[in-house]
Protein backbone atom coordinates (compact mmCIF):
# COMPACT_ATOMS: atom_id res chain seq x y z
CA UNK A 1 0.00 0.00 0.00
CA UNK A 2 2.74 2.49 0.92
CA UNK A 3 5.21 1.44 -1.71
CA UNK A 4 7.14 4.69 -1.87
CA UNK A 5 5.87 6.23 1.33
CA UNK A 6 2.51 7.36 -0.07
CA UNK A 7 -0.88 6.12 1.04
CA UNK A 8 -3.35 5.06 -1.61
CA UNK A 9 -5.65 7.98 -2.38
CA UNK A 10 -9.17 7.24 -1.07
CA UNK A 11 -10.64 7.33 -4.57
CA UNK A 12 -9.13 3.90 -5.28
CA UNK A 13 -9.92 2.35 -1.91
CA UNK A 14 -12.60 -0.26 -2.41
CA UNK A 15 -11.73 -2.79 0.29
CA UNK A 16 -10.98 -6.42 -0.48
CA UNK A 17 -11.53 -7.84 -3.96
CA UNK A 18 -15.11 -8.93 -4.81
CA UNK A 19 -14.17 -12.61 -4.92
CA UNK A 20 -12.60 -12.42 -1.47
CA UNK A 21 -15.70 -10.71 -0.11
CA UNK A 22 -17.92 -13.30 -1.79
CA UNK A 23 -15.97 -16.12 -0.15
CA UNK A 24 -16.18 -14.40 3.25
CA UNK A 25 -19.94 -13.83 3.08
CA UNK A 26 -20.70 -17.26 1.64
CA UNK A 27 -18.72 -18.99 4.38
CA UNK A 28 -20.45 -16.82 7.01
CA UNK A 29 -23.85 -17.83 5.59
CA UNK A 30 -22.85 -21.51 5.51
CA UNK A 31 -21.68 -21.37 9.15
CA UNK A 32 -25.01 -19.79 10.12
CA UNK A 33 -26.94 -22.42 8.17
CA UNK A 34 -25.13 -25.32 9.83
CA UNK A 35 -25.41 -23.87 13.35
CA UNK A 36 -29.09 -23.20 12.83
CA UNK A 37 -30.15 -26.42 11.10
CA UNK A 38 -27.93 -28.88 12.97
CA UNK A 39 -27.44 -27.42 16.43
CA UNK A 40 -30.22 -24.81 16.83
CA UNK A 41 -27.90 -22.43 18.69
CA UNK A 42 -29.29 -19.26 17.17
CA UNK A 43 -32.78 -19.15 18.73
CA UNK A 44 -31.88 -16.16 20.89
CA UNK A 45 -30.68 -14.13 17.91
CA UNK A 46 -33.81 -15.13 16.00
CA UNK A 47 -36.06 -14.05 18.88
CA UNK A 48 -34.39 -10.65 19.16
CA UNK A 49 -34.74 -9.94 15.45
CA UNK A 50 -38.32 -11.26 15.49
CA UNK A 51 -39.35 -8.76 18.18
CA UNK A 52 -37.83 -5.90 16.17
CA UNK A 53 -39.61 -7.12 13.01
CA UNK A 54 -42.98 -7.53 14.76
CA UNK A 55 -44.44 -4.10 13.79
CA UNK A 56 -43.33 -4.52 10.16
CA UNK A 57 -44.91 -7.97 10.07
CA UNK A 58 -48.18 -6.71 11.50
CA UNK A 59 -48.22 -3.88 8.97
CA UNK A 60 -47.51 -6.31 6.14
CA UNK A 61 -50.27 -8.63 7.33
CA UNK A 62 -52.87 -5.82 7.06
CA UNK A 63 -53.58 -6.07 3.30
CA UNK A 64 -54.08 -9.84 3.58
CA UNK A 65 -56.40 -9.28 6.56
CA UNK A 66 -58.37 -6.72 4.55
CA UNK A 67 -58.85 -9.15 1.68
CA UNK A 68 -59.92 -11.92 4.05
CA UNK A 69 -62.21 -9.73 6.12
CA UNK A 70 -63.83 -7.88 3.24
CA UNK A 71 -66.20 -10.79 2.69
CA UNK A 72 -67.20 -10.80 6.36
CA UNK A 73 -67.57 -7.04 6.42
CA UNK A 74 -70.10 -7.01 3.62
CA UNK A 75 -72.05 -10.00 4.91
CA UNK A 76 -75.72 -9.26 5.25
CA UNK A 77 -77.53 -8.96 8.54
CA UNK A 78 -79.57 -12.07 7.76
CA UNK A 79 -76.44 -14.12 7.42
CA UNK A 80 -75.11 -12.88 10.74
CA UNK A 81 -78.44 -13.65 12.42
CA UNK A 82 -78.39 -17.12 10.93
CA UNK A 83 -74.90 -17.69 12.23
CA UNK A 84 -75.93 -16.34 15.62
CA UNK A 85 -78.82 -18.81 15.84
CA UNK A 86 -76.52 -21.65 14.84
CA UNK A 87 -73.99 -20.66 17.50
CA UNK A 88 -76.72 -20.46 20.14
CA UNK A 89 -77.89 -23.96 19.32
CA UNK A 90 -74.29 -25.15 19.40
CA UNK A 91 -73.72 -23.50 22.76
CA UNK A 92 -76.80 -25.16 24.21
CA UNK A 93 -75.57 -28.54 23.09
CA UNK A 94 -72.09 -27.79 24.44
CA UNK A 95 -73.39 -26.65 27.82
CA UNK A 96 -75.31 -29.91 28.16
CA UNK A 97 -72.09 -31.79 27.40
CA UNK A 98 -70.19 -29.56 29.80
CA UNK A 99 -72.58 -30.32 32.67
CA UNK A 100 -72.17 -34.01 32.08
CA UNK A 101 -68.42 -33.53 31.78
CA UNK A 102 -68.23 -31.85 35.17
CA UNK A 103 -70.16 -34.64 36.77
CA UNK A 104 -67.98 -37.25 35.06
CA UNK A 105 -64.80 -35.45 36.06
CA UNK A 106 -65.93 -35.48 39.71
CA UNK A 107 -66.81 -39.13 39.49
CA UNK A 108 -63.48 -39.87 37.82
CA UNK A 109 -61.45 -38.13 40.51
CA UNK A 110 -63.47 -39.97 43.24
CA UNK A 111 -62.79 -43.31 41.57
CA UNK A 112 -59.13 -42.43 41.19
CA UNK A 113 -58.81 -41.67 44.90
CA UNK A 114 -60.58 -44.94 45.67
CA UNK A 115 -58.08 -46.79 43.47
CA UNK A 116 -55.15 -44.83 44.95
CA UNK A 117 -54.09 -43.44 41.58
CA UNK A 118 -52.51 -40.07 41.05
CA UNK A 119 -54.90 -37.34 39.98
CA UNK A 120 -54.84 -36.31 36.35
CA UNK A 121 -52.54 -33.41 35.67
CA UNK A 122 -54.23 -30.06 35.38
CA UNK A 123 -54.10 -28.43 31.96
CA UNK A 124 -53.76 -24.83 30.89
CA UNK A 125 -54.94 -23.28 27.66
CA UNK A 126 -54.49 -20.01 25.81
CA UNK A 127 -56.76 -18.85 23.00
CA UNK A 128 -54.88 -17.45 20.01
CA UNK A 129 -55.42 -16.23 16.46
CA UNK A 130 -53.49 -17.45 13.46
CA UNK A 131 -51.71 -14.35 12.11
CA UNK A 132 -50.62 -15.89 8.83
CA UNK A 133 -49.14 -18.98 7.25
CA UNK A 134 -45.35 -18.87 7.22
CA UNK A 135 -43.91 -17.99 3.82
CA UNK A 136 -41.28 -20.73 3.83
CA UNK A 137 -42.40 -23.15 1.07
CA UNK A 138 -40.40 -26.06 2.47
CA UNK A 139 -42.42 -26.45 5.66
CA UNK A 140 -46.03 -26.27 6.84
CA UNK A 141 -46.12 -23.65 9.57
CA UNK A 142 -48.43 -20.91 10.87
CA UNK A 143 -47.69 -17.96 13.14
CA UNK A 144 -49.87 -17.26 16.20
CA UNK A 145 -50.38 -13.85 17.79
CA UNK A 146 -49.59 -15.11 21.30
CA UNK A 147 -46.18 -15.96 22.69
CA UNK A 148 -44.22 -16.81 25.80
CA UNK A 149 -45.43 -13.66 27.59
CA UNK A 150 -49.01 -15.01 27.33
CA UNK A 151 -48.09 -18.32 28.92
CA UNK A 152 -47.45 -20.47 25.86
CA UNK A 153 -44.65 -23.00 26.22
CA UNK A 154 -42.57 -24.75 23.61
CA UNK A 155 -44.06 -28.12 22.68
CA UNK A 156 -47.67 -27.18 23.49
CA UNK A 157 -50.40 -28.78 21.43
CA UNK A 158 -52.43 -26.47 19.19
CA UNK A 159 -56.07 -27.49 18.68
CA UNK A 160 -59.08 -26.05 16.94
CA UNK A 161 -62.70 -26.91 17.70
CA UNK A 162 -62.40 -30.34 16.05
CA UNK A 163 -58.95 -31.65 16.91
CA UNK A 164 -55.20 -31.21 17.05
CA UNK A 165 -53.71 -29.17 14.23
CA UNK A 166 -50.06 -28.87 15.29
CA UNK A 167 -47.44 -28.14 17.87
CA UNK A 168 -45.61 -24.99 19.02
CA UNK A 169 -42.07 -25.47 17.74
CA UNK A 170 -40.54 -22.03 18.03
CA UNK A 171 -41.44 -19.49 20.66
CA UNK A 172 -40.99 -15.72 20.50
CA UNK A 173 -42.08 -13.33 23.26
CA UNK A 174 -45.21 -12.16 21.41
CA UNK A 175 -45.52 -14.75 18.65
CA UNK A 176 -45.38 -18.50 18.36
CA UNK A 177 -44.53 -20.64 15.36
CA UNK A 178 -46.71 -23.72 15.00
CA UNK A 179 -45.58 -26.68 12.90
CA UNK A 180 -48.71 -28.23 11.42
CA UNK A 181 -49.36 -31.97 11.58
CA UNK A 182 -48.97 -32.24 7.80
CA UNK A 183 -45.33 -31.07 7.95
CA UNK A 184 -42.88 -33.80 7.00
CA UNK A 185 -40.85 -33.35 10.19
CA UNK A 186 -43.81 -33.44 12.56
CA UNK A 187 -44.69 -36.56 14.56
CA UNK A 188 -47.39 -37.12 17.18
CA UNK A 189 -47.91 -40.18 19.42
CA UNK A 190 -51.44 -41.56 19.23
CA UNK A 191 -53.68 -44.43 20.28
CA UNK A 192 -56.42 -45.99 18.20
CA UNK A 193 -59.58 -45.12 20.11
CA UNK A 194 -61.32 -48.40 19.26
CA UNK A 195 -58.72 -50.80 20.70
CA UNK A 196 -56.01 -48.76 22.41
CA UNK A 197 -53.30 -49.68 19.90
CA UNK A 198 -50.39 -47.22 20.19
CA UNK A 199 -48.47 -45.67 17.32
CA UNK A 200 -46.87 -42.53 15.95
CA UNK A 201 -48.38 -40.42 13.18
CA UNK A 202 -46.12 -38.50 10.79
CA UNK A 203 -46.90 -35.79 8.27
CA UNK A 204 -47.02 -37.17 4.72
CA UNK A 205 -47.54 -34.04 2.62
CA UNK A 206 -50.57 -33.22 0.45
CA UNK A 207 -52.70 -32.68 3.56
CA UNK A 208 -52.34 -36.30 4.66
CA UNK A 209 -50.78 -38.10 7.60
CA UNK A 210 -49.21 -41.52 7.83
CA UNK A 211 -49.36 -43.93 10.77
CA UNK A 212 -45.97 -45.61 10.57
CA UNK A 213 -44.18 -48.61 12.05
CA UNK A 214 -47.23 -50.78 12.67
CA UNK A 215 -46.94 -54.42 11.52
CA UNK A 216 -48.99 -55.48 8.50
CA UNK A 217 -51.20 -57.54 10.80
CA UNK A 218 -52.06 -54.63 13.11
CA UNK A 219 -55.75 -54.20 13.87
CA UNK A 220 -56.39 -50.87 12.16
CA UNK A 221 -59.37 -50.30 9.86
CA UNK A 222 -60.36 -47.43 7.61
CA UNK A 223 -62.55 -45.06 9.63
CA UNK A 224 -60.77 -45.66 12.94
CA UNK A 225 -60.27 -42.47 14.89
CA UNK A 226 -56.85 -41.72 16.38
CA UNK A 227 -56.45 -39.66 19.56
CA UNK A 228 -53.35 -38.39 21.38
CA UNK A 229 -51.90 -40.90 23.81
CA UNK A 230 -50.28 -38.40 26.15
CA UNK A 231 -47.31 -40.72 26.58
CA UNK A 232 -44.94 -38.02 25.34
CA UNK A 233 -45.62 -35.87 28.41
CA UNK A 234 -46.49 -32.89 26.21
CA UNK A 235 -49.93 -33.49 24.76
CA UNK A 236 -52.99 -34.04 26.90
CA UNK A 237 -54.35 -37.55 26.33
CA UNK A 238 -57.54 -38.03 24.32
CA UNK A 239 -57.40 -35.10 21.88
CA UNK A 240 -58.71 -36.21 18.45
CA UNK A 241 -55.97 -36.22 15.82
CA UNK A 242 -56.95 -38.05 12.65
CA UNK A 243 -59.16 -40.59 10.93
CA UNK A 244 -57.76 -43.59 9.08
CA UNK A 245 -58.36 -43.21 5.35
CA UNK A 246 -56.97 -46.42 3.89
CA UNK A 247 -54.68 -49.27 4.92
CA UNK A 248 -52.17 -50.86 2.53
CA UNK A 249 -51.13 -54.25 3.90
CA UNK A 250 -49.51 -55.91 0.90
CA UNK A 251 -46.34 -53.83 0.67
CA UNK A 252 -43.78 -54.92 3.25
CA UNK A 253 -43.51 -55.96 6.87
CA UNK A 254 -45.11 -52.69 7.88
CA UNK A 255 -48.59 -51.62 6.93
CA UNK A 256 -48.90 -48.31 5.12
CA UNK A 257 -51.70 -46.49 6.88
CA UNK A 258 -52.85 -43.13 5.52
CA UNK A 259 -54.98 -40.81 7.64
CA UNK A 260 -56.60 -37.40 7.28
CA UNK A 261 -56.41 -34.89 10.13
CA UNK A 262 -59.68 -34.24 12.01
CA UNK A 263 -58.90 -30.59 12.79
CA UNK A 264 -58.85 -27.95 10.07
CA UNK A 265 -55.08 -28.15 9.79
CA UNK A 266 -54.51 -25.60 7.05
CA UNK A 267 -57.77 -23.65 7.46
CA UNK A 268 -58.43 -22.77 11.08
CA UNK A 269 -57.95 -19.16 12.19
CA UNK A 270 -58.91 -19.37 15.87
CA UNK A 271 -57.05 -21.93 17.89
CA UNK A 272 -56.45 -23.01 21.45
CA UNK A 273 -52.93 -23.69 22.70
CA UNK A 274 -53.06 -26.45 25.31
CA UNK A 275 -50.28 -27.62 27.56
CA UNK A 276 -49.67 -29.37 30.82
CA UNK A 277 -48.97 -27.35 33.95
CA UNK A 278 -46.13 -29.66 34.93
CA UNK A 279 -44.40 -32.49 33.20
CA UNK A 280 -45.42 -35.95 34.46
CA UNK A 281 -42.16 -37.63 33.44
CA UNK A 282 -39.62 -38.60 36.10
CA UNK A 283 -36.37 -36.65 35.82
CA UNK A 284 -33.97 -38.12 33.28
CA UNK A 285 -30.62 -39.45 34.42
CA UNK A 286 -29.28 -41.55 37.29
CA UNK A 287 -32.30 -41.55 39.64
CA UNK A 288 -34.72 -42.68 36.98
CA UNK A 289 -32.47 -45.56 35.99
CA UNK A 290 -32.13 -46.82 39.58
CA UNK A 291 -35.88 -46.97 40.05
CA UNK A 292 -36.51 -49.09 36.99
Amino acid sequence: MSLIGHNTPPIFKRGPAPTVRLLLYVSAALVLLVTDLKFRYLEFMRQTVAVVLYPVERAAATPADLVLNAATYFATLAKVQQENALLRRQQLRMSEQLMRHQQLAQENSRLRTLLGMRDELPARSVAADVLYAAHDPFTRKVILDRGSTHGIAKGDAVVDERGVIGQVTRLHPIQAEVTLLTDKEQAIPIVVRRNGLRGVVFGAGAGQLELRYLPATADVQPGDSLVTSGLDGLYLPGLPVAKVLRVDRDTQAFARIFCVPVGGVEQSTHVLVMGRLSTPLPPMGGDGDKDS
Binding site: L33, H135, P137, I143
Partner: protein, 173 residues
Amino acid sequence: MQPTNRSQRILQPVKLWYLYLSLIVAFALTLIPTGHLPGVPDWLALVLAFWSVREPLRVGLGTGFAFGLLVDVGHGAALGQHALAYVLLTYGANALSRRVLWFSPLEQALHILPLLLLMHVVMVVVRMLAGADFPGWWYFTGSFTAALLWVPLHFVLLFPQFRPVERDDNRPI
Protein backbone atom coordinates in the same frame (compact mmCIF):
# COMPACT_ATOMS: atom_id res chain seq x y z
CA MET B 1 -22.18 10.67 -14.55
CA GLN B 2 -20.33 9.20 -17.52
CA PRO B 3 -22.57 7.97 -20.35
CA THR B 4 -22.16 4.26 -19.67
CA ASN B 5 -25.65 3.36 -20.79
CA ARG B 6 -28.11 3.93 -23.59
CA SER B 7 -29.93 6.68 -21.81
CA GLN B 8 -29.63 10.05 -23.57
CA ARG B 9 -30.22 11.82 -20.28
CA ILE B 10 -27.71 12.44 -17.62
CA LEU B 11 -29.32 11.24 -14.41
CA GLN B 12 -28.98 12.90 -11.08
CA PRO B 13 -27.02 10.99 -8.44
CA VAL B 14 -29.12 8.64 -6.33
CA LYS B 15 -30.21 9.76 -2.87
CA LEU B 16 -29.07 7.31 -0.23
CA TRP B 17 -32.23 7.64 1.84
CA TYR B 18 -34.34 6.81 -1.20
CA LEU B 19 -32.22 3.76 -1.94
CA TYR B 20 -32.56 2.35 1.57
CA LEU B 21 -36.24 3.32 1.80
CA SER B 22 -36.92 1.32 -1.38
CA LEU B 23 -35.09 -1.66 0.11
CA ILE B 24 -37.12 -1.44 3.33
CA VAL B 25 -40.41 -1.12 1.43
CA ALA B 26 -39.45 -4.16 -0.66
CA PHE B 27 -38.66 -6.04 2.54
CA ALA B 28 -42.10 -5.16 3.94
CA LEU B 29 -43.66 -6.38 0.68
CA THR B 30 -41.94 -9.77 1.03
CA LEU B 31 -43.49 -10.10 4.49
CA ILE B 32 -47.04 -9.89 3.11
CA PRO B 33 -48.43 -13.32 3.98
CA THR B 34 -49.26 -14.80 0.59
CA GLY B 35 -48.97 -18.36 1.88
CA HIS B 36 -47.99 -20.76 -0.86
CA LEU B 37 -49.45 -18.76 -3.73
CA PRO B 38 -47.43 -19.49 -6.90
CA GLY B 39 -45.77 -16.72 -8.88
CA VAL B 40 -45.31 -14.24 -6.03
CA PRO B 41 -42.07 -12.39 -6.78
CA ASP B 42 -39.33 -11.91 -4.22
CA TRP B 43 -39.54 -8.11 -4.12
CA LEU B 44 -36.47 -7.67 -1.99
CA ALA B 45 -34.30 -9.79 -4.31
CA LEU B 46 -35.52 -7.74 -7.25
CA VAL B 47 -34.79 -4.36 -5.66
CA LEU B 48 -31.44 -5.59 -4.33
CA ALA B 49 -30.48 -6.78 -7.81
CA PHE B 50 -31.61 -3.44 -9.26
CA TRP B 51 -29.46 -1.33 -6.94
CA SER B 52 -26.52 -3.73 -7.22
CA VAL B 53 -26.62 -3.13 -10.95
CA ARG B 54 -27.14 0.62 -10.69
CA GLU B 55 -25.00 1.44 -7.66
CA PRO B 56 -22.40 -1.34 -7.28
CA LEU B 57 -20.34 0.81 -4.90
CA ARG B 58 -23.24 1.40 -2.50
CA VAL B 59 -25.22 -1.84 -2.56
CA GLY B 60 -23.30 -5.07 -2.54
CA LEU B 61 -22.67 -8.28 -0.72
CA GLY B 62 -22.95 -6.77 2.79
CA THR B 63 -26.40 -5.30 2.09
CA GLY B 64 -27.55 -8.59 0.60
CA PHE B 65 -26.29 -10.54 3.58
CA ALA B 66 -27.94 -8.26 6.16
CA PHE B 67 -31.32 -8.17 4.41
CA GLY B 68 -31.11 -11.92 3.80
CA LEU B 69 -30.86 -12.55 7.53
CA LEU B 70 -33.90 -10.34 8.16
CA VAL B 71 -35.91 -12.27 5.56
CA ASP B 72 -34.83 -15.58 7.11
CA VAL B 73 -36.27 -14.53 10.46
CA GLY B 74 -39.38 -12.98 8.93
CA HIS B 75 -40.17 -16.06 6.85
CA GLY B 76 -39.23 -18.57 9.53
CA ALA B 77 -36.73 -20.11 7.11
CA ALA B 78 -33.35 -21.59 8.01
CA LEU B 79 -31.08 -18.79 9.26
CA GLY B 80 -28.59 -18.01 6.48
CA GLN B 81 -30.65 -19.46 3.64
CA HIS B 82 -31.75 -16.17 2.10
CA ALA B 83 -28.49 -14.53 3.21
CA LEU B 84 -26.53 -17.01 1.09
CA ALA B 85 -28.88 -16.61 -1.87
CA TYR B 86 -28.84 -12.78 -1.73
CA VAL B 87 -25.03 -12.68 -1.39
CA LEU B 88 -24.72 -14.72 -4.60
CA LEU B 89 -27.38 -12.56 -6.27
CA THR B 90 -25.73 -9.24 -5.39
CA TYR B 91 -22.33 -10.59 -6.41
CA GLY B 92 -23.70 -11.60 -9.80
CA ALA B 93 -25.54 -8.29 -10.24
CA ASN B 94 -22.44 -6.29 -9.22
CA ALA B 95 -20.38 -8.22 -11.73
CA LEU B 96 -22.98 -7.61 -14.45
CA SER B 97 -23.40 -3.91 -13.72
CA ARG B 98 -20.89 -2.64 -16.33
CA ARG B 99 -22.47 -4.72 -19.07
CA VAL B 100 -26.17 -4.68 -18.30
CA LEU B 101 -26.66 -0.90 -18.42
CA TRP B 102 -25.99 -0.83 -22.16
CA PHE B 103 -29.20 -2.73 -22.79
CA SER B 104 -32.83 -1.67 -22.76
CA PRO B 105 -34.85 -2.48 -19.61
CA LEU B 106 -36.41 -5.56 -21.23
CA GLU B 107 -33.02 -6.95 -22.21
CA GLN B 108 -31.74 -6.12 -18.73
CA ALA B 109 -34.55 -8.25 -17.34
CA LEU B 110 -33.30 -11.17 -19.44
CA HIS B 111 -29.88 -10.75 -17.84
CA ILE B 112 -31.36 -10.71 -14.34
CA LEU B 113 -33.64 -13.73 -14.81
CA PRO B 114 -30.83 -16.36 -14.62
CA LEU B 115 -29.55 -14.70 -11.44
CA LEU B 116 -32.99 -14.90 -9.83
CA LEU B 117 -33.37 -18.52 -10.91
CA LEU B 118 -29.91 -19.34 -9.54
CA MET B 119 -30.95 -17.77 -6.24
CA HIS B 120 -34.01 -20.03 -5.99
CA VAL B 121 -32.00 -23.11 -7.01
CA VAL B 122 -29.46 -22.36 -4.25
CA MET B 123 -32.23 -22.13 -1.66
CA VAL B 124 -33.85 -25.37 -2.82
CA VAL B 125 -30.49 -27.19 -2.75
CA VAL B 126 -29.69 -25.90 0.74
CA ARG B 127 -33.06 -26.94 2.19
CA MET B 128 -33.11 -30.31 0.42
CA LEU B 129 -29.63 -31.07 1.79
CA ALA B 130 -31.09 -30.32 5.23
CA GLY B 131 -33.84 -32.88 4.62
CA ALA B 132 -36.79 -30.84 3.36
CA ASP B 133 -39.11 -31.92 0.55
CA PHE B 134 -38.92 -30.50 -2.96
CA PRO B 135 -41.41 -27.60 -2.89
CA GLY B 136 -42.65 -28.17 -6.45
CA TRP B 137 -41.92 -26.45 -9.74
CA TRP B 138 -44.30 -23.55 -9.02
CA TYR B 139 -41.65 -22.32 -6.59
CA PHE B 140 -39.55 -21.11 -9.53
CA THR B 141 -42.37 -19.16 -11.20
CA GLY B 142 -41.71 -16.27 -8.78
CA SER B 143 -38.46 -15.42 -10.55
CA PHE B 144 -40.23 -15.09 -13.92
CA THR B 145 -42.78 -12.63 -12.50
CA ALA B 146 -39.93 -10.76 -10.85
CA ALA B 147 -38.06 -10.51 -14.16
CA LEU B 148 -41.21 -9.13 -15.83
CA LEU B 149 -41.53 -6.54 -13.06
CA TRP B 150 -38.01 -5.33 -13.78
CA VAL B 151 -39.25 -3.05 -16.58
CA PRO B 152 -41.84 -1.02 -14.60
CA LEU B 153 -39.58 -1.09 -11.55
CA HIS B 154 -36.81 0.45 -13.62
CA PHE B 155 -38.88 3.60 -14.05
CA VAL B 156 -40.31 3.70 -10.54
CA LEU B 157 -36.95 3.38 -8.81
CA LEU B 158 -35.15 5.81 -11.10
CA PHE B 159 -37.96 8.37 -11.02
CA PRO B 160 -36.31 10.77 -8.51
CA GLN B 161 -33.14 10.77 -10.59
CA PHE B 162 -35.01 11.78 -13.75
CA ARG B 163 -35.83 15.17 -12.23
CA PRO B 164 -34.04 18.16 -13.76
CA VAL B 165 -31.42 19.96 -11.69
CA GLU B 166 -33.04 23.38 -11.62
CA ARG B 167 -36.70 23.84 -11.01
CA ASP B 168 -38.77 25.26 -13.84
CA ASP B 169 -42.31 26.38 -13.03
CA ASN B 170 -43.51 25.94 -16.63
CA ARG B 171 -42.52 22.29 -16.78
CA PRO B 172 -44.85 19.67 -15.24
CA ILE B 173 -42.09 17.60 -13.56
